[in-house]
C-alpha cells in the first residue's frame, strides 16, 4: 500500500461526503414537488406526462397499489426489452448487422436490465445492435434506476408520515426521478465524458491497419451516453465486454474518478433525503456512517490484499502487488477501490478482472454483495435494503432499553419483523441455494475455468452477483449456457422483487402507525452506539450465513496460497 494510493481513496471519500447534503437537498425538493432550478423547463413536460398517463401529482396510492403499479411497469419493460432483443436483426439502427439474440440469453439479459443487475452473458460489441443498446438497454438503465429510487422514496415517506394509508404515487415518483434527477445529470456527464475522449457515435466499427500492418476492427458507438447512466443508475452493464477497463469506456484517471463518484452519489444522497424528510438529518448521517464504516474496512482489506500480492509469484522473484487482470493506468489502489465501490453499490461495472484478484481481495466484493449491497447500495435498493437491517437491529437490541422497539417513533412489531426477515431471507436462498445445486451438476461445473476452491468461488460469485442485482462477474465462468442463463435470471428476479415487495409492505404498515414522541426512554438512533449496533447486526445476521461457503472458497484458497499450495 502507498500513501498515494490512500490519498486517492480518501479524495474519493471526501467528494462523496461533500456531495451528500447538496444532492440530498435537491432530491428532497424534487420528490416533495417543490420548485427547483429546472422546474421552468421541465415542469410543463412533467405535467404533460401526467395528463398523458391519466394521473395527477396529488393522487396518492396505497402500498399495494404502488406495488402493483411497479410490478406491472417492470413486467411491460421486460416484455418490450425481450422483444427488441429477439427481433433486433430486423430492426433499424443496426449498422454492424447483429443477429437476433437467442431466447435464453434474451431472457437473461432482459431480466438483468429490468432488475438493475446488468449481468452480461454476452459481449456488447459482438451481440447488441445500437438500437438494442440505446432503446433497449439504456432505457431500462434509466427506468430500473428510477424504480429503485421510487421505492426508496415510498419507504422514506412512510417513516416521515403518520396515521396515513398512502405512501405516494409510483408514476409521479418515476417521472420525477427520471426527469429531474437522472436525465439532467446524465446529459452533463455524457458531455464531460465525451470531452475526456469517450466515443459517442452512431457510426459503424472502424477498420484500421495497425503499425505492424495488421488489420483490426475497432468497435465504437454511443458509448458515453450509456456509460453515464450505467454508473449514475448503478446499472453497470458496459457497452464493451471489458466494461470500464476498456480505454474507450474509461479513458483516464479523471473519467475513472467521475464514474466512481457517479456510482455512489445518489445512493449516498438518499441517506440525507431520508434525514431531511424525517426531520433530523443526523438520522441519515447515522445510516451513512454505518455504510461508510463497512466500506472503509472493505477497501482497506481489499487494497491491502492486492498491494501485498501473491506469495507464489513473489517466490519466483517478482515483487510487488497483484497486477494480473488490472489496467496499468489504474494500479492496485484504484482497481481495489473500484471493485469495492462497484460491489458495495449494486453497480457491477468493473475496471479490473475480479477473478484475478487475490483470494482475500476477491472475497471483499463477494461479501459486499452477500450482505445485500447495503453499503450505499444500488440507487434506492441499497437504502431500502439497509432499512431492513435497521428494522432487525432495532428489534433485537431495542428491547434492551425496556420498551417495544421503535424507530423514528414507529413501533417495530410483528408485521415489520416478518417482512424484514422475508427480505433478508431471500438473498441466501438465491445465492446459496442455486450455488449448491450448480456445484454438483455437471452442466454447472463444466462452465468453470479453474479447479479447486477458486472454481467454487466463480460459481458462488455468479449467483451472489445475480441475486444481489450487482451484475459484475468474477470472470472465469462461461455464463452463456441455458442453465446459467435461466437460473441466474431467476436469482436476479428473486433478489429484486422478493425484497421490494416486503419493503413496500413495511412502508404501508409504518405509514399507518402513529408516531410516538421521543423521550429519554427512546433508544437514540442518530448516535455512534446505533451505528455500531447496525454494523454489528449487518455483519452477524447478514454475513455469518455465508461463513461456511466463504471458508470453502476464498478463505481456503488464501490459506493454501500462503502455504504455497495450488489446485
Amino acid at each position: 500500500m502507498t500513501i498515494n494510493g490512500w490519498i486517492q481513496i480518501l479524495v474519493f471519500c471526501g467528494i462523496i461526503i461533500l456531495l451528500v447534503r447538496p444532492l440530498g437537498g435537491y432530491m428532497t425538493a424534487i420528490f416533495n414537488g417543490e420548485r427547483t432550478l429546472l422546474s421552468p423547463v421541465l415542469g410543463p413536460v412533467e405535467r404533460g406526462l401526467y395528463r398523458l398517463a391519466g394521473t395527477a401529482e396529488q393522487e396518492e396510492q396505497h402500498w399495494s397499489t404502488y406495488a402493483v403499479s411497479m410490478l406491472l411497469f417492470n413486467l411491460l419493460g421486460f416484455l418490450l426489452l425481450y422483444l427488441i432483443l429477439r427481433l433486433q436483426g430486423s430492426l433499424p439502427i443496426n449498422p454492424t448487422g447483429m443477429a437476433n439474440v437467442p431466447p435464453e440469453l434474451a431472457f437473461n439479459t432482459a431480466v438483468s436490465f429490468v432488475t438493475n443487475t446488468n449481468w452480461q452473458n454476452y459481449g456488447g460489441e459482438t451481440t447488441m445492435s445500437y438500437l438494442s443498446q440505446m432503446l433497449g438497454l439504456t432505457v431500462q438503465n434509466f427506468l430500473s434506476a428510477a424504480t429503485g429510487i421510487a421505492l426508496a422514496m415510498a419507504l422514506i415517506r412512510a417513516f416521515a408520515r403518520k396515521s396515513t394509508r398512502t405512501v405516494g404515487n409510483f408514476w409521479v415518483d418515476m417521472t420525477r426521478g427520471t426527469l429531474y434527477l437522472l436525465l439532467p445529470i446524465c446529459i452533463v456527464m455524457t458531455l464531460v465524458l465525451v470531452s475526456l475522449g469517450m466515443p459517442q457515435t452512431l457510426g459503424a466499427s472502424v477498420d484500421v491497419t495497425t503499425l505492424e500492418g495488421a488489420k483490426q476492427t475497432i468497435a465504437i458507438g454511443p458509448v458515453a451516453s450509456q456509460t453515464a447512466i450505467k454508473m449514475l443508475g448503478t446499472n453497470g452493464g458496459g457497452f464493451f465486454n471489458a466494461n470500464a477497463a476498456h480505454p474507450f469506456e474509461n479513458p483516464n484517471a479523471i473519467s475513472n474518478l467521475i464514474q466512481m463518484v457517479a456510482i455512489f452519489s445518489i445512493g449516498a444522497a438518499l441517506t440525507n433525503v431520508f434525514g431531511r424528510m424525517v426531520g433530523n438529518e443526523r438520522q441519515g448521517w447515522a445510516i451513512f456512517a454505518a455504510m461508510g464504516t463497512l466500506f472503509l474496512v472493505g477497501v482497506a482489506v481489499c487494497y491491502w490484499a492486492e498491494a501485498a500480492g501473491n506469495p507464489l509469484i513473489h517466490a519466483l522473484g517478482i515483487d510487488g502487488g497483484n497486477m494480473e487482470g488490472k489496467e496499468a493506468r489504474f494500479g492496485t489502489a484504484l482497481s481495489a477501490l473500484f471493485a469495492v465501490i462497484t460491489t458495495s453499490a449494486s453497480c457491477g461495472a468493473v475496471n479490473a478482472m475480479h477473478d484475478s484478484f487475490t483470494a482475500l481481495g476477491g472475497m471483499i466484493p463477494l461479501i459486499n454483495m452477500m450482505l445485500g449491497e447495503i453499503i450505499i447500495g444500488g440507487v434506492g435498493a441499497g437504502f431500502y435494503g439497509i432499512l431492513m437491517f435497521v428494522v432487525i437491529a432495532i428489534f433485537v437490541a431495542g428491547l434492551m432499553v425496556g420498551r417495544t422497539p421503535e424507530y423514528l417513533g414507529k413501533k417495530i412489531e410483528a408485521k415489520e419483523v416478518k417482512m424484514a426477515m422475508l427480505a433478508v431471507l431471500c438473498l441466501p436462498l438465491a445465492m446459496l441455494g442455486f450455488a449448491a445445486v450448480a456445484v454438483v451438476l455437471p452442466t454447472g461445473v463444466s462452465s468453470i475455468a479453474n479447479a479447486g476452491p477458486h472454481g467454487f468461488s466463480e460459481i458462488l460469485y455468479a449467483y451472489t452477483s445475480a441475486a444481489a442485482n450487482n451484475g459484475s462477474a468474477f470472470g472465469g465462468l462461461s455464463g452463456n449456457t441455458p442453465w446459467y442463463n435461466v437460473t441466474l435470471g431467476i436469482a436476479m428476479l428473486m433478489g429484486r422483487f422478493l425484497v421490494i415487495v416486503p419493503a413496500l409492505a413495511i412502508a404501508g404498515s409504518v405509514a399507518a402507525k402513529k408516531t410516538v414522541p421521543v423521550s429519554a426512554g427512546t433508544f437514540p438512533t442518530d448516535g455512534p452506539l446505533f451505528v455500531g449496533l447496525l454494523t454489528g447486526v449487518i455483519v452477524i445476521v447478514g454475513g455469518l450465513t455465508f461463513f461456511p461457503a466463504l471458508a470453502l472458497g476464498p478463505v481456503v484458497e488464501h490459506l493454501a496460497i500462503t502455504a504455497g499450495e495450488t489446485f
Partner: protein, 680 residues
Amino acid sequence: MSKSRSASLLDARILWPAVGGAFRKLDPRSLIRNPVMFVVAVVSVLTTVLLVKDAIAGSGQLGFSFQIVLWLWFTLLFANFAEAVAEGRGKAQADALRRTRTETQAKLITDGGKAYRTVPGHSLKVGDVVLVEAGDIIPSDGEVIEGVASVNEAAITGESAPVIRESGGDRSAVTGGTEVLSDWIRVRITAAAGSTFIDRMISLVEGAERKKTPNEIALNILLAGMTLIFVLATVTIPSFASYAGGSIPVVVLVALFVTLIPTTIGALLSAIGIAGMDRLVRFNVLAMSGRAVEAAGDVDTLLLDKTGTITLGNRQATGFHPVEGISAEALADAAQLASFADETPEGRSIVVLAKEKYGLRGREMESLHATFVPFTAQTRMSGVDHDGHSIRKGAIDAITAQADPAAAAALREVRSIADGIARTGGTPLAVMRDGRLLGVIELKDIVKGGIHERFTELRRMGIRTVMITGDNPMTAAAIAAEAGVDDFLAQATPEDKLNLIRAEQAKGKLVAMCGDGTNDAPALAQSDVGVAMNTGTVAAREAGNMVDLDSDPTKLIEIVEIGKQLLMTRGALTTFSIANDVAKYFAIIPAMFLAFYPQLGALNVMGLATPESAILSAIIFNALIIVALIPLALKGVRYRPVGAGALLGRNLLIYGLGGLIVPFVGIKAIDLAVTALGLV
C-alpha cells in the same frame, strides 16, 4: 411492600417436579408452540434414528455420534426444564389459592328480601342476592348492596388485617372466598361459579390462559426467520463439500445447525414471559394479560392521584398565623378549642399541632359546657359555643363574610395571609371568636418522603408524570412543584381525566393510571395500563387490566419497571444468543472441513484438541448455557433508570460483547474437560 408468597429461586419443591415436567413437555403438541425448539426436536429424532441405524449396521463413529445425540436431547430437555421451573413457581401459588376455594353454602335471599334459604355456593347465578353474616365465607364475587362488614381478605392479599366493605361508594366490591368477620352484608353476585376473581387468579398464575403477547410473537417470527437462514447455511454445505471432494456426516451438520440457531433465547423465551407475570404476582399485582405487562414497559405518561400517592392521605396543620394584636398562643388556643370535637384528620392535626407547639393540653368538652357546631356544606365552617362565646373556623370567604366588618385592617390582613398560604400550596382556615378575626391556620398536604427522587428517576426513564387533583390550580401548582411532577390536572373531574388520556394517546403515547372508584372506570378502560385497586368497586376492577391487591397506587412505578425488565430480558438474551454464533462457527467450521481442506485448521483459533472434541464442546456449551441462564431469565435483567442510551450501551457491552467472548472461553474450557475425560 410485597409479601413473598412464592418459593425462592432454587427451591427443591419446584425443581424436582420441573424435572418431570421437562420430560412431559417433549409432547409434540406442546413443542410446536415454540418453533426453534420444535426444530431441535425434529433434528434430534432424525439423528437418533440414524444412530440406531448405524448401531445396527455397526458403522460410523458410534461413541461420538451417541454423545452428540445425547446432548441434542439435553438441549431440548433443558429448554423444557426452564419453562417448567417458571411454571412451577406459579403453580405453587395457584395451589395455595386453590386451598382457599372450599365449597361454601350461600344464603340466597328470597321473597323480596324477607327470608333466605341455604343453597350450595356453586349454584349461584349472576344477579342473585345473598346474605353473608359474621363467620360466613363470601360465596362468590359480588357487590355489597346493603350493610357494612369487616372482611378478612388474606386469601387473596396475604394481608391478615381485616378491611371494611360497605354498600355504596368505592369499597363495595367483595371477593368470593374471603371471610366476613363481623356484622352482615347483602351481596349481589357479579360472577358465576368458575369465573370468580380467585378462579381467574389461579389460571393466571398457573399460566393456563397464557397467550403469546404481541412482542413475543414478533420475537418468535425473528427467531423462526433466523432458524430458516441457518437451515440454508447448513443444508447447502454437503453439496459444497462434495464439490471439494469430501463428505460431512449428518450428525455433524445437525450439531452445527443446532448450535447456530438461536436456541438460547428460544429455550428461555416462554420462561421469561411466565417469570414476568410471576414477578408481578409476587408484588401482589395481578395482570389480566401478558399484553398489559408488556404495555407497562412502554408507558410514556403516568397519571397519579395526588392523595395517597404523592401526598400522605390528608392535610395537616403546619402553622398558626395570628393577625396584628393577637398572640399566636391565643390563636392556637381558640383553634384547638374549635377542633376538639372535630373528628376529621384535619381537625385532629390542629389539636396535635397546638399541643406540640404551645403545650396546650386537651380539655374535656363537658367541663367547658361547650356544644360542638358541626361542619355543613351550607355554613362551610365548624366550631364550638361555650360560656356564651362562639369560636368558628372555616373557609376564608365563609368566615370573613360573618366577621365584624368594622375591623377592616384585620380583614385585609387575613386575606393577605390566606393568599400567601394558598400560593405555597397550603389551605388556609380562618379562625374567629365572637365575630372578631384571630388569624389563620395553615393546613398543608404533606408530600411523601422520597417521592421527588422517584419522579426524577421516572423522568430519566422517559416517563412523564401527571398529578391529578381536585384542588384549585394554585394549590395544585405548588404541590406539583414540591413533589417534582411534570404536569398536573387541577379540579379534575372524571371526564377531564378521560380527556387527558385520550389527548395523550392521540399524541402516540401510552398512558398508565390507577383508580378505584366507579367513576374511574371509563378512564381505567381507556388507559393502556389501568391498575384497579383491590379495595375499589367491581366496575373499576372490571375496567382495569391489572388489579393491585395491596391497593397501593405508588406501585404503578414498580409495575412499569417490571414491564421494562421483561422486555429487556428478552432483548438481552436474544442479543447474547445471536452473538454466540461467531465462536460456534470458529469451533465447528474448521473441524468439519479438516478432512479435505487441512488448511482450514488455521481457523481453529481456540486451539481445540480434535475435530470431534471441538464439535462436541460446541454442542455441550450450547446446551449448558441454557441452564446457566435460567436464573437470569427468571430474575430478569436489572433495570436502571439511566436513560435509554446509557442503558443500551451497558447492555450491549454485557450481552453483545459478552455474548461474543463468553463462548470462546466456554467452548475452550469444555474442550479441555472433554479431552481430559477422554470422551472422544
